[in-house]
Protein backbone atom coordinates (compact mmCIF):
# COMPACT_ATOMS: atom_id res chain seq x y z
CA UNK A 1 0.00 0.00 0.00
CA UNK A 2 1.40 3.35 -0.96
CA UNK A 3 0.76 6.50 0.90
CA UNK A 4 -0.05 9.32 -1.49
CA UNK A 5 2.81 11.77 -1.52
CA UNK A 6 2.63 15.44 -1.94
CA UNK A 7 3.74 15.13 -5.53
CA UNK A 8 0.92 12.65 -6.31
CA UNK A 9 -1.66 14.94 -4.89
CA UNK A 10 -0.45 17.82 -6.94
CA UNK A 11 -0.62 15.69 -10.11
CA UNK A 12 -4.19 14.84 -9.27
CA UNK A 13 -4.89 18.46 -8.73
CA UNK A 14 -3.51 19.21 -12.14
CA UNK A 15 -5.78 16.56 -13.63
CA UNK A 16 -8.67 18.21 -11.85
CA UNK A 17 -7.53 21.54 -13.16
CA UNK A 18 -7.96 20.30 -16.68
CA UNK A 19 -11.51 19.15 -15.99
CA UNK A 20 -12.77 21.92 -13.76
CA UNK A 21 -14.94 24.27 -15.76
CA UNK A 22 -15.41 21.64 -18.46
CA UNK A 23 -19.09 20.69 -18.08
CA UNK A 24 -20.22 17.32 -19.43
CA UNK A 25 -23.09 16.57 -21.79
CA UNK A 26 -25.47 16.42 -18.82
CA UNK A 27 -25.47 20.23 -18.67
CA UNK A 28 -26.95 20.37 -22.15
CA UNK A 29 -29.56 17.69 -21.47
CA UNK A 30 -32.51 19.72 -20.09
CA UNK A 31 -32.61 22.23 -22.96
CA UNK A 32 -32.03 19.58 -25.61
CA UNK A 33 -34.74 17.36 -24.13
CA UNK A 34 -37.15 20.28 -24.02
CA UNK A 35 -36.43 21.29 -27.58
CA UNK A 36 -36.67 17.72 -28.85
CA UNK A 37 -40.05 17.05 -27.23
CA UNK A 38 -41.79 20.33 -28.07
CA UNK A 39 -40.17 21.35 -31.35
CA UNK A 40 -38.66 18.32 -33.11
CA UNK A 41 -41.16 15.64 -32.10
CA UNK A 42 -43.99 17.74 -33.61
CA UNK A 43 -42.15 17.64 -36.95
CA UNK A 44 -42.40 13.84 -36.85
CA UNK A 45 -46.00 14.08 -35.63
CA UNK A 46 -46.87 16.28 -38.63
CA UNK A 47 -45.77 13.51 -40.99
CA UNK A 48 -47.67 10.87 -38.95
CA UNK A 49 -50.86 12.93 -38.69
CA UNK A 50 -50.80 13.59 -42.43
CA UNK A 51 -51.67 9.91 -42.92
CA UNK A 52 -54.54 9.93 -40.41
CA UNK A 53 -58.04 11.23 -39.86
CA UNK A 54 -58.32 13.21 -36.63
CA UNK A 55 -60.44 16.10 -35.39
CA UNK A 56 -58.40 17.34 -32.44
CA UNK A 57 -60.54 15.77 -29.73
CA UNK A 58 -58.65 13.92 -27.03
CA UNK A 59 -60.94 10.89 -26.78
CA UNK A 60 -61.07 10.15 -30.52
CA UNK A 61 -57.58 8.91 -31.43
CA UNK A 62 -56.15 9.57 -34.92
CA UNK A 63 -57.13 6.82 -37.37
CA UNK A 64 -54.72 5.79 -40.12
CA UNK A 65 -56.23 6.39 -43.56
CA UNK A 66 -53.21 5.86 -45.82
CA UNK A 67 -52.55 8.41 -48.53
CA UNK A 68 -56.08 9.84 -48.56
CA UNK A 69 -55.05 13.31 -47.36
CA UNK A 70 -52.13 13.42 -49.78
CA UNK A 71 -54.41 12.42 -52.66
CA UNK A 72 -56.68 15.31 -51.74
CA UNK A 73 -53.71 17.69 -51.90
CA UNK A 74 -53.18 16.82 -55.58
CA UNK A 75 -56.75 17.72 -56.56
CA UNK A 76 -57.48 20.62 -54.18
CA UNK A 77 -57.59 23.92 -56.12
CA UNK A 78 -57.32 25.89 -52.84
CA UNK A 79 -53.69 24.84 -52.41
CA UNK A 80 -52.18 26.21 -55.65
CA UNK A 81 -54.29 29.36 -55.15
CA UNK A 82 -52.95 29.78 -51.56
CA UNK A 83 -49.41 29.07 -52.73
CA UNK A 84 -49.72 31.72 -55.44
CA UNK A 85 -51.04 34.27 -52.93
CA UNK A 86 -48.14 33.40 -50.58
CA UNK A 87 -45.66 34.11 -53.37
CA UNK A 88 -47.42 37.39 -54.24
CA UNK A 89 -47.34 38.51 -50.60
CA UNK A 90 -43.66 37.57 -50.21
CA UNK A 91 -42.72 39.51 -53.35
CA UNK A 92 -44.80 42.50 -52.24
CA UNK A 93 -43.15 42.43 -48.81
CA UNK A 94 -39.60 42.24 -50.18
CA UNK A 95 -39.99 44.94 -52.85
CA UNK A 96 -41.68 47.40 -50.48
CA UNK A 97 -39.73 46.79 -47.28
CA UNK A 98 -36.18 46.39 -48.61
CA UNK A 99 -35.68 49.80 -50.29
CA UNK A 100 -37.35 51.72 -47.46
CA UNK A 101 -35.49 49.85 -44.71
CA UNK A 102 -32.19 50.20 -46.56
CA UNK A 103 -32.54 53.96 -47.08
CA UNK A 104 -33.67 54.58 -43.49
CA UNK A 105 -30.96 52.33 -42.07
CA UNK A 106 -28.22 54.10 -44.01
CA UNK A 107 -29.65 57.51 -43.16
CA UNK A 108 -29.91 56.83 -39.41
CA UNK A 109 -26.31 55.56 -39.47
CA UNK A 110 -25.21 58.98 -40.72
CA UNK A 111 -24.15 62.04 -38.73
CA UNK A 112 -27.44 64.02 -38.62
CA UNK A 113 -28.46 65.77 -35.43
CA UNK A 114 -31.51 64.41 -33.61
CA UNK A 115 -30.90 61.03 -35.19
CA UNK A 116 -31.13 59.22 -31.84
CA UNK A 117 -34.59 60.64 -31.14
CA UNK A 118 -35.81 59.69 -34.60
CA UNK A 119 -34.35 56.19 -34.27
CA UNK A 120 -36.13 55.76 -30.92
CA UNK A 121 -39.46 56.74 -32.52
CA UNK A 122 -38.96 54.26 -35.37
CA UNK A 123 -38.78 51.64 -32.67
CA UNK A 124 -42.45 51.98 -31.64
CA UNK A 125 -43.90 49.23 -33.93
CA UNK A 126 -41.35 46.81 -32.49
CA UNK A 127 -42.95 47.22 -29.07
CA UNK A 128 -46.32 46.02 -30.34
CA UNK A 129 -47.40 42.46 -30.93
CA UNK A 130 -48.48 41.46 -34.42
CA UNK A 131 -51.98 40.99 -32.97
CA UNK A 132 -52.09 44.52 -31.48
CA UNK A 133 -50.86 46.02 -34.76
CA UNK A 134 -53.46 44.10 -36.75
CA UNK A 135 -56.25 45.18 -34.37
CA UNK A 136 -55.07 48.81 -34.62
CA UNK A 137 -55.09 48.78 -38.42
CA UNK A 138 -58.34 46.92 -38.66
CA UNK A 139 -59.90 49.76 -36.60
CA UNK A 140 -58.16 52.42 -38.71
CA UNK A 141 -59.45 51.03 -42.02
CA UNK A 142 -62.97 50.38 -40.76
CA UNK A 143 -65.20 51.80 -43.53
CA UNK A 144 -67.70 53.31 -41.05
CA UNK A 145 -65.61 54.44 -38.08
CA UNK A 146 -62.06 54.62 -39.44
CA UNK A 147 -60.03 56.75 -41.81
CA UNK A 148 -62.01 55.94 -44.99
CA UNK A 149 -65.09 57.65 -43.48
CA UNK A 150 -63.03 60.70 -42.49
CA UNK A 151 -61.05 60.99 -45.73
CA UNK A 152 -63.37 59.91 -48.57
CA UNK A 153 -61.29 61.80 -51.17
CA UNK A 154 -58.35 59.51 -50.35
CA UNK A 155 -60.04 56.16 -49.86
CA UNK A 156 -62.92 56.29 -52.38
CA UNK A 157 -65.81 54.02 -51.39
CA UNK A 158 -63.73 52.98 -48.37
CA UNK A 159 -64.08 49.25 -48.73
CA UNK A 160 -60.35 48.49 -48.70
CA UNK A 161 -60.91 44.78 -48.13
CA UNK A 162 -63.45 44.39 -50.96
CA UNK A 163 -61.16 42.89 -53.59
CA UNK A 164 -58.27 40.46 -53.37
CA UNK A 165 -55.60 42.87 -54.75
CA UNK A 166 -56.57 45.72 -52.44
CA UNK A 167 -56.85 43.42 -49.40
CA UNK A 168 -53.39 42.00 -50.24
CA UNK A 169 -52.08 45.55 -50.48
CA UNK A 170 -53.49 46.31 -47.02
CA UNK A 171 -51.82 43.22 -45.55
CA UNK A 172 -48.51 44.10 -47.25
CA UNK A 173 -48.72 47.66 -45.92
CA UNK A 174 -49.37 46.49 -42.34
CA UNK A 175 -46.46 44.04 -42.60
CA UNK A 176 -44.22 46.85 -43.84
CA UNK A 177 -45.34 49.08 -40.96
CA UNK A 178 -44.51 46.32 -38.54
CA UNK A 179 -41.18 45.10 -39.95
CA UNK A 180 -39.47 48.06 -41.69
CA UNK A 181 -38.15 49.38 -38.32
CA UNK A 182 -36.59 46.02 -37.55
CA UNK A 183 -34.85 45.75 -40.91
CA UNK A 184 -33.75 49.42 -40.71
CA UNK A 185 -32.08 48.59 -37.42
CA UNK A 186 -30.11 45.75 -39.03
CA UNK A 187 -29.03 48.00 -41.90
CA UNK A 188 -28.14 50.80 -39.49
CA UNK A 189 -25.79 48.53 -37.53
CA UNK A 190 -24.17 47.29 -40.74
CA UNK A 191 -23.86 50.77 -42.28
CA UNK A 192 -22.06 52.04 -39.19
CA UNK A 193 -19.47 49.32 -39.68
CA UNK A 194 -18.52 50.51 -43.18
CA UNK A 195 -14.99 51.97 -42.92
CA UNK A 196 -15.15 55.79 -43.36
CA UNK A 197 -11.90 55.65 -45.34
CA UNK A 198 -13.87 54.24 -48.29
CA UNK A 199 -16.11 57.32 -48.39
CA UNK A 200 -13.11 59.62 -48.01
CA UNK A 201 -11.39 57.96 -50.95
CA UNK A 202 -14.57 58.15 -53.04
CA UNK A 203 -15.05 61.83 -52.18
CA UNK A 204 -11.50 62.58 -53.28
CA UNK A 205 -12.25 60.80 -56.56
CA UNK A 206 -15.25 63.10 -56.93
CA UNK A 207 -18.06 60.58 -56.33
CA UNK A 208 -21.38 62.10 -55.22
CA UNK A 209 -23.78 60.80 -52.59
CA UNK A 210 -25.75 58.63 -55.02
CA UNK A 211 -22.60 57.19 -56.59
CA UNK A 212 -21.17 56.49 -53.12
CA UNK A 213 -24.38 54.69 -52.15
CA UNK A 214 -24.28 52.35 -55.14
CA UNK A 215 -20.50 51.86 -55.29
CA UNK A 216 -19.67 51.63 -51.60
CA UNK A 217 -22.65 51.34 -49.25
CA UNK A 218 -24.63 48.76 -51.20
CA UNK A 219 -21.72 46.35 -51.91
CA UNK A 220 -20.59 46.70 -48.30
CA UNK A 221 -24.07 45.81 -47.04
CA UNK A 222 -24.35 42.76 -49.30
CA UNK A 223 -24.32 40.18 -46.51
CA UNK A 224 -26.78 42.17 -44.41
CA UNK A 225 -29.07 42.49 -47.42
CA UNK A 226 -29.09 38.71 -47.84
CA UNK A 227 -29.82 38.10 -44.15
CA UNK A 228 -32.60 40.67 -44.15
CA UNK A 229 -34.25 39.28 -47.30
CA UNK A 230 -34.13 35.69 -46.01
CA UNK A 231 -35.79 36.78 -42.75
CA UNK A 232 -38.42 38.69 -44.74
CA UNK A 233 -39.19 35.80 -47.06
CA UNK A 234 -39.56 33.16 -44.34
CA UNK A 235 -41.37 35.59 -42.00
CA UNK A 236 -43.87 36.72 -44.64
CA UNK A 237 -44.41 33.18 -45.85
CA UNK A 238 -45.60 32.18 -42.37
CA UNK A 239 -47.56 35.40 -41.65
CA UNK A 240 -50.60 34.58 -39.64
CA UNK A 241 -52.03 37.11 -37.15
CA UNK A 242 -52.21 39.94 -39.67
CA UNK A 243 -54.35 37.91 -42.05
CA UNK A 244 -56.58 36.29 -39.42
CA UNK A 245 -57.34 39.61 -37.72
CA UNK A 246 -57.60 42.00 -40.67
CA UNK A 247 -59.03 39.96 -43.54
CA UNK A 248 -59.94 36.52 -42.16
CA UNK A 249 -58.46 35.19 -45.40
CA UNK A 250 -61.07 37.01 -47.46
CA UNK A 251 -62.62 38.35 -49.60
CA UNK A 252 -63.66 34.80 -50.58
CA UNK A 253 -60.18 33.36 -50.07
CA UNK A 254 -58.51 36.39 -51.68
CA UNK A 255 -55.86 36.64 -48.93
CA UNK A 256 -55.77 32.99 -47.84
CA UNK A 257 -52.05 32.28 -48.04
CA UNK A 258 -50.80 28.75 -47.39
CA UNK A 259 -50.08 29.27 -43.66
CA UNK A 260 -53.59 30.60 -43.11
CA UNK A 261 -55.13 27.80 -45.17
CA UNK A 262 -53.38 25.36 -42.82
CA UNK A 263 -54.87 27.08 -39.78
CA UNK A 264 -58.40 27.17 -41.18
CA UNK A 265 -58.21 23.51 -42.21
CA UNK A 266 -56.98 22.35 -38.79
CA UNK A 267 -58.78 24.67 -36.43
CA UNK A 268 -61.74 25.92 -38.43
CA UNK A 269 -65.19 24.33 -38.40
CA UNK A 270 -63.99 21.12 -40.11
CA UNK A 271 -61.12 20.59 -37.61
CA UNK A 272 -59.33 18.36 -40.11
CA UNK A 273 -55.94 17.72 -38.45
CA UNK A 274 -54.94 15.16 -41.07
CA UNK A 275 -55.23 17.43 -44.09
CA UNK A 276 -53.91 20.41 -42.11
CA UNK A 277 -50.82 18.30 -41.36
CA UNK A 278 -50.36 17.64 -45.08
CA UNK A 279 -50.31 21.41 -45.63
CA UNK A 280 -47.97 21.80 -42.64
CA UNK A 281 -45.51 19.30 -44.14
CA UNK A 282 -45.69 21.16 -47.48
CA UNK A 283 -45.06 24.46 -45.64
CA UNK A 284 -42.07 23.04 -43.75
CA UNK A 285 -40.60 21.64 -46.99
CA UNK A 286 -41.10 24.93 -48.85
CA UNK A 287 -39.64 27.00 -46.00
CA UNK A 288 -36.59 24.71 -45.86
CA UNK A 289 -36.13 24.79 -49.65
CA UNK A 290 -36.41 28.59 -49.68
CA UNK A 291 -33.83 28.97 -46.92
CA UNK A 292 -31.39 26.47 -48.43
CA UNK A 293 -32.00 27.73 -51.97
CA UNK A 294 -31.36 31.33 -51.03
CA UNK A 295 -28.27 30.33 -49.10
CA UNK A 296 -26.89 28.45 -52.13
CA UNK A 297 -27.98 31.04 -54.68
CA UNK A 298 -26.44 33.95 -52.84
CA UNK A 299 -23.33 32.20 -51.58
CA UNK A 300 -24.39 32.94 -48.02
CA UNK A 301 -22.71 29.72 -46.86
CA UNK A 302 -19.30 30.89 -48.02
CA UNK A 303 -20.12 34.43 -46.98
CA UNK A 304 -17.49 36.63 -48.54
CA UNK A 305 -15.85 39.18 -46.33
CA UNK A 306 -16.72 42.67 -47.54
CA UNK A 307 -13.49 44.19 -46.31
CA UNK A 308 -10.98 42.42 -48.52
CA UNK A 309 -8.22 44.61 -49.84
CA UNK A 310 -8.68 47.43 -47.35
Amino acid sequence: MTVPTRADRSTRRRGGLHHAGRPGALWAAPAVLFFTVFALLPLAYAVYLSFTKYNGIAIAAPRLVGGENWARLASDPAVPQALWLSVVLVVLAVVTQTPVALLIGVWTAGPQRGRAVVAALYFVPLLMSAAAIAVLFSALIDPNFGLPAALPWLFGDGNLLGTSPSAMAVVAFVLAWQYVPFHSLIYQAAARAVPPVLYQAAAIDGAGTVRQFFSITLPQLRNTLITSVILMVVGTFTTFETILIITNGGPSGGTTILAYLMYVTGFGAAANYGYASVIAVVLILIATVISLGMVRLTGFDRMRGTQEGI
Binding site: P23, W27, A39, L40, L126, S129, L231, T238, Y263, G266
Partner: protein, 272 residues
Protein backbone atom coordinates in the same frame (compact mmCIF):
# COMPACT_ATOMS: atom_id res chain seq x y z
CA UNK B 1 -16.73 60.91 -43.95
CA UNK B 2 -19.62 62.01 -46.09
CA UNK B 3 -19.51 65.66 -46.97
CA UNK B 4 -22.91 66.06 -48.56
CA UNK B 5 -26.14 65.23 -46.71
CA UNK B 6 -28.07 62.15 -47.80
CA UNK B 7 -31.19 63.96 -49.06
CA UNK B 8 -33.06 60.96 -50.49
CA UNK B 9 -32.50 58.96 -47.31
CA UNK B 10 -33.64 61.93 -45.21
CA UNK B 11 -36.86 62.37 -47.17
CA UNK B 12 -37.72 58.66 -47.03
CA UNK B 13 -36.89 58.59 -43.31
CA UNK B 14 -39.16 61.60 -42.65
CA UNK B 15 -42.05 60.18 -44.67
CA UNK B 16 -41.75 56.81 -42.98
CA UNK B 17 -41.57 58.45 -39.56
CA UNK B 18 -44.95 60.04 -40.30
CA UNK B 19 -46.32 56.68 -41.46
CA UNK B 20 -45.12 55.09 -38.21
CA UNK B 21 -46.34 57.84 -35.90
CA UNK B 22 -49.75 58.73 -37.36
CA UNK B 23 -51.41 55.37 -36.56
CA UNK B 24 -49.86 55.43 -33.07
CA UNK B 25 -51.16 58.94 -32.41
CA UNK B 26 -54.59 58.04 -33.76
CA UNK B 27 -54.60 55.01 -31.45
CA UNK B 28 -53.77 57.15 -28.39
CA UNK B 29 -56.24 59.81 -29.45
CA UNK B 30 -59.05 57.23 -29.73
CA UNK B 31 -58.13 55.46 -26.48
CA UNK B 32 -58.54 58.67 -24.45
CA UNK B 33 -61.76 59.86 -26.15
CA UNK B 34 -65.33 59.01 -25.17
CA UNK B 35 -67.19 56.65 -27.45
CA UNK B 36 -69.75 59.33 -28.31
CA UNK B 37 -67.04 61.92 -28.97
CA UNK B 38 -65.18 59.56 -31.26
CA UNK B 39 -68.31 58.71 -33.23
CA UNK B 40 -69.17 62.38 -33.57
CA UNK B 41 -65.78 63.86 -34.47
CA UNK B 42 -64.20 60.96 -36.32
CA UNK B 43 -60.68 59.55 -35.90
CA UNK B 44 -58.80 62.69 -36.97
CA UNK B 45 -60.29 65.65 -35.06
CA UNK B 46 -58.79 66.62 -31.72
CA UNK B 47 -60.84 65.11 -28.88
CA UNK B 48 -62.97 67.60 -26.93
CA UNK B 49 -62.34 65.86 -23.63
CA UNK B 50 -59.77 63.37 -22.43
CA UNK B 51 -61.05 60.44 -20.41
CA UNK B 52 -59.78 57.26 -18.81
CA UNK B 53 -63.22 55.60 -19.00
CA UNK B 54 -62.15 53.24 -21.80
CA UNK B 55 -59.35 51.85 -19.66
CA UNK B 56 -61.67 51.46 -16.70
CA UNK B 57 -64.25 49.75 -18.91
CA UNK B 58 -61.64 47.36 -20.36
CA UNK B 59 -60.48 46.39 -16.88
CA UNK B 60 -64.05 46.03 -15.60
CA UNK B 61 -64.82 43.89 -18.63
CA UNK B 62 -62.30 41.29 -17.45
CA UNK B 63 -59.27 42.34 -19.51
CA UNK B 64 -57.18 42.27 -16.34
CA UNK B 65 -57.66 38.51 -16.28
CA UNK B 66 -56.31 38.23 -19.83
CA UNK B 67 -53.35 40.45 -18.96
CA UNK B 68 -52.69 38.29 -15.89
CA UNK B 69 -52.75 35.14 -18.05
CA UNK B 70 -50.24 36.74 -20.41
CA UNK B 71 -48.10 37.71 -17.42
CA UNK B 72 -48.14 34.15 -16.05
CA UNK B 73 -47.17 32.72 -19.43
CA UNK B 74 -44.41 35.32 -19.74
CA UNK B 75 -43.05 34.62 -16.25
CA UNK B 76 -43.24 30.86 -16.79
CA UNK B 77 -41.48 31.04 -20.14
CA UNK B 78 -38.73 33.32 -18.84
CA UNK B 79 -38.27 31.08 -15.78
CA UNK B 80 -37.95 27.89 -17.83
CA UNK B 81 -35.66 29.53 -20.37
CA UNK B 82 -33.39 30.73 -17.55
CA UNK B 83 -33.37 27.25 -16.09
CA UNK B 84 -32.35 25.33 -19.23
CA UNK B 85 -30.56 27.77 -21.56
CA UNK B 86 -27.62 28.97 -19.40
CA UNK B 87 -26.36 25.43 -18.63
CA UNK B 88 -26.65 24.55 -22.33
CA UNK B 89 -24.75 27.68 -23.40
CA UNK B 90 -22.09 26.99 -20.74
CA UNK B 91 -21.73 23.44 -22.07
CA UNK B 92 -21.53 24.64 -25.68
CA UNK B 93 -18.78 27.12 -24.85
CA UNK B 94 -16.71 24.96 -22.49
CA UNK B 95 -17.50 21.29 -23.00
CA UNK B 96 -15.16 19.03 -24.94
CA UNK B 97 -17.97 16.52 -25.48
CA UNK B 98 -18.96 15.68 -29.02
CA UNK B 99 -22.60 15.26 -27.93
CA UNK B 100 -22.68 18.90 -26.91
CA UNK B 101 -21.32 20.00 -30.28
CA UNK B 102 -24.14 18.07 -31.93
CA UNK B 103 -26.65 19.68 -29.57
CA UNK B 104 -25.46 23.06 -30.81
CA UNK B 105 -26.02 21.99 -34.43
CA UNK B 106 -29.52 20.88 -33.45
CA UNK B 107 -30.23 24.36 -32.05
CA UNK B 108 -29.03 26.00 -35.28
CA UNK B 109 -31.43 23.75 -37.18
CA UNK B 110 -34.20 24.82 -34.81
CA UNK B 111 -33.71 28.46 -35.80
CA UNK B 112 -35.21 27.61 -39.18
CA UNK B 113 -38.47 26.13 -37.82
CA UNK B 114 -41.11 28.84 -37.31
CA UNK B 115 -43.59 27.91 -34.56
CA UNK B 116 -46.46 28.70 -36.95
CA UNK B 117 -45.88 25.78 -39.27
CA UNK B 118 -45.89 23.11 -36.54
CA UNK B 119 -48.89 24.41 -34.63
CA UNK B 120 -51.10 21.48 -35.73
CA UNK B 121 -48.82 18.70 -34.40
CA UNK B 122 -47.91 20.79 -31.32
CA UNK B 123 -51.62 21.05 -30.55
CA UNK B 124 -51.91 17.24 -30.94
CA UNK B 125 -48.98 16.76 -28.56
CA UNK B 126 -50.48 19.10 -25.95
CA UNK B 127 -53.85 17.29 -26.20
CA UNK B 128 -52.02 13.97 -25.71
CA UNK B 129 -50.36 15.35 -22.59
CA UNK B 130 -53.75 16.51 -21.30
CA UNK B 131 -52.44 20.09 -21.12
CA UNK B 132 -54.83 21.77 -23.53
CA UNK B 133 -56.69 24.74 -22.07
CA UNK B 134 -54.03 25.22 -19.43
CA UNK B 135 -51.43 27.97 -19.18
CA UNK B 136 -48.70 25.33 -18.76
CA UNK B 137 -49.68 23.89 -22.14
CA UNK B 138 -48.81 27.27 -23.71
CA UNK B 139 -45.67 27.84 -21.64
CA UNK B 140 -43.98 24.56 -22.65
CA UNK B 141 -43.99 24.99 -26.47
CA UNK B 142 -43.41 28.76 -26.19
CA UNK B 143 -40.26 27.99 -24.20
CA UNK B 144 -39.14 25.34 -26.70
CA UNK B 145 -39.37 27.76 -29.63
CA UNK B 146 -37.50 30.45 -27.67
CA UNK B 147 -34.59 28.14 -26.81
CA UNK B 148 -32.58 28.31 -30.09
CA UNK B 149 -32.23 32.10 -30.34
CA UNK B 150 -31.69 32.48 -26.58
CA UNK B 151 -28.94 29.86 -26.75
CA UNK B 152 -27.28 31.68 -29.62
CA UNK B 153 -27.35 35.02 -27.77
CA UNK B 154 -26.06 33.62 -24.49
CA UNK B 155 -23.38 31.47 -26.12
CA UNK B 156 -22.06 34.62 -27.77
CA UNK B 157 -21.93 36.39 -24.40
CA UNK B 158 -20.23 33.47 -22.63
CA UNK B 159 -17.54 33.14 -25.28
CA UNK B 160 -16.19 36.50 -24.12
CA UNK B 161 -15.08 35.05 -20.77
CA UNK B 162 -11.31 34.48 -21.00
CA UNK B 163 -9.62 31.10 -20.43
CA UNK B 164 -7.35 32.56 -17.77
CA UNK B 165 -10.36 33.25 -15.54
CA UNK B 166 -11.37 29.59 -15.70
CA UNK B 167 -7.79 28.57 -14.91
CA UNK B 168 -7.67 30.93 -11.93
CA UNK B 169 -10.91 29.49 -10.54
CA UNK B 170 -9.68 25.92 -11.14
CA UNK B 171 -6.38 26.61 -9.34
CA UNK B 172 -8.43 27.81 -6.38
CA UNK B 173 -10.03 24.35 -6.40
CA UNK B 174 -13.46 25.44 -7.58
CA UNK B 175 -15.80 22.77 -8.93
CA UNK B 176 -17.52 23.13 -12.30
CA UNK B 177 -20.76 24.03 -10.54
CA UNK B 178 -19.01 26.70 -8.48
CA UNK B 179 -17.30 28.14 -11.55
CA UNK B 180 -20.71 28.27 -13.24
CA UNK B 181 -22.59 29.98 -10.42
CA UNK B 182 -19.82 32.27 -9.15
CA UNK B 183 -18.14 33.29 -12.37
CA UNK B 184 -19.91 32.34 -15.60
CA UNK B 185 -23.40 33.56 -14.64
CA UNK B 186 -22.30 36.90 -13.09
CA UNK B 187 -20.02 37.62 -16.06
CA UNK B 188 -22.76 37.00 -18.63
CA UNK B 189 -25.26 39.42 -17.11
CA UNK B 190 -25.64 41.39 -20.35
CA UNK B 191 -26.42 38.27 -22.34
CA UNK B 192 -28.84 37.05 -19.68
CA UNK B 193 -30.69 40.39 -19.77
CA UNK B 194 -31.10 40.06 -23.54
CA UNK B 195 -32.31 36.49 -23.16
CA UNK B 196 -34.88 37.54 -20.53
CA UNK B 197 -36.19 40.36 -22.71
CA UNK B 198 -36.30 38.18 -25.80
CA UNK B 199 -38.15 35.31 -24.11
CA UNK B 200 -40.53 37.75 -22.42
CA UNK B 201 -41.36 39.52 -25.70
CA UNK B 202 -41.89 36.21 -27.44
CA UNK B 203 -44.27 35.02 -24.70
CA UNK B 204 -46.11 38.31 -24.11
CA UNK B 205 -46.69 38.94 -27.82
CA UNK B 206 -47.42 35.31 -28.69
CA UNK B 207 -50.73 34.73 -30.48
CA UNK B 208 -51.06 31.53 -32.48
CA UNK B 209 -49.98 29.05 -29.77
CA UNK B 210 -52.31 30.46 -27.08
CA UNK B 211 -55.09 30.90 -29.67
CA UNK B 212 -54.97 27.21 -30.50
CA UNK B 213 -53.88 25.68 -27.19
CA UNK B 214 -55.77 27.77 -24.61
CA UNK B 215 -59.29 28.31 -25.92
CA UNK B 216 -61.43 28.51 -22.80
CA UNK B 217 -62.21 32.00 -21.40
CA UNK B 218 -60.34 31.57 -18.10
CA UNK B 219 -57.01 30.93 -19.88
CA UNK B 220 -57.40 33.42 -22.76
CA UNK B 221 -54.35 35.67 -23.10
CA UNK B 222 -54.35 39.40 -23.88
CA UNK B 223 -53.43 39.19 -27.58
CA UNK B 224 -56.17 36.65 -28.27
CA UNK B 225 -58.67 38.66 -26.19
CA UNK B 226 -57.87 41.74 -28.31
CA UNK B 227 -59.01 39.86 -31.39
CA UNK B 228 -62.17 38.71 -29.61
CA UNK B 229 -62.98 42.29 -28.59
CA UNK B 230 -62.46 43.37 -32.17
CA UNK B 231 -65.03 40.93 -33.51
CA UNK B 232 -67.51 41.51 -30.66
CA UNK B 233 -67.34 45.28 -30.21
CA UNK B 234 -66.15 46.56 -33.57
CA UNK B 235 -68.27 49.68 -32.99
CA UNK B 236 -66.46 50.66 -29.80
CA UNK B 237 -63.14 51.71 -31.28
CA UNK B 238 -62.05 53.81 -28.26
CA UNK B 239 -62.55 50.77 -26.00
CA UNK B 240 -60.62 48.56 -28.40
CA UNK B 241 -57.74 51.03 -28.66
CA UNK B 242 -57.57 51.34 -24.87
CA UNK B 243 -57.15 47.56 -24.65
CA UNK B 244 -54.38 47.69 -27.27
CA UNK B 245 -52.62 50.40 -25.26
CA UNK B 246 -52.90 48.28 -22.10
CA UNK B 247 -51.04 45.43 -23.83
CA UNK B 248 -48.21 47.78 -24.85
CA UNK B 249 -47.64 49.46 -21.46
CA UNK B 250 -45.60 46.61 -19.91
CA UNK B 251 -43.26 46.47 -22.94
CA UNK B 252 -42.97 50.26 -22.89
CA UNK B 253 -41.82 50.07 -19.25
CA UNK B 254 -39.18 47.49 -20.21
CA UNK B 255 -38.15 49.78 -23.08
CA UNK B 256 -37.67 52.72 -20.71
CA UNK B 257 -35.64 50.78 -18.18
CA UNK B 258 -33.75 48.27 -20.33
CA UNK B 259 -33.51 49.83 -23.78
CA UNK B 260 -30.21 48.21 -24.68
CA UNK B 261 -31.34 44.70 -23.73
CA UNK B 262 -34.64 45.26 -25.55
CA UNK B 263 -32.94 46.36 -28.78
CA UNK B 264 -30.66 43.33 -28.62
CA UNK B 265 -33.67 41.12 -27.86
CA UNK B 266 -35.63 42.44 -30.82
CA UNK B 267 -32.62 41.94 -33.08
CA UNK B 268 -32.40 38.35 -31.84
CA UNK B 269 -36.05 37.83 -32.63
CA UNK B 270 -35.35 37.88 -36.32
CA UNK B 271 -38.28 38.13 -38.65
CA UNK B 272 -40.71 36.46 -36.29
Amino acid sequence: MRTRPNVIGGVVAAVWLAIVLIPVLLMLRAAFDTQAGYAQNGPLALPRTLTLENFVAAIDGGFLRNLANSAIITAGTVGLVLLVVPPLSFAIVRSTSRTVANAFRLMLLGLAIPAQVVVVPVSYLIIQLGLNNSLLGVILPTTAFAIPVCTLVLTGAMRNIGDELYEAMAIDGASTMRIYTRMVLPLSKGGLATVIVFAALQAWNGFLLPLVLARSPEVTVATVALNQFRSQYSVNIPGLMAAVVLTIIPILLVYLFARRALVAGVMGMGGK
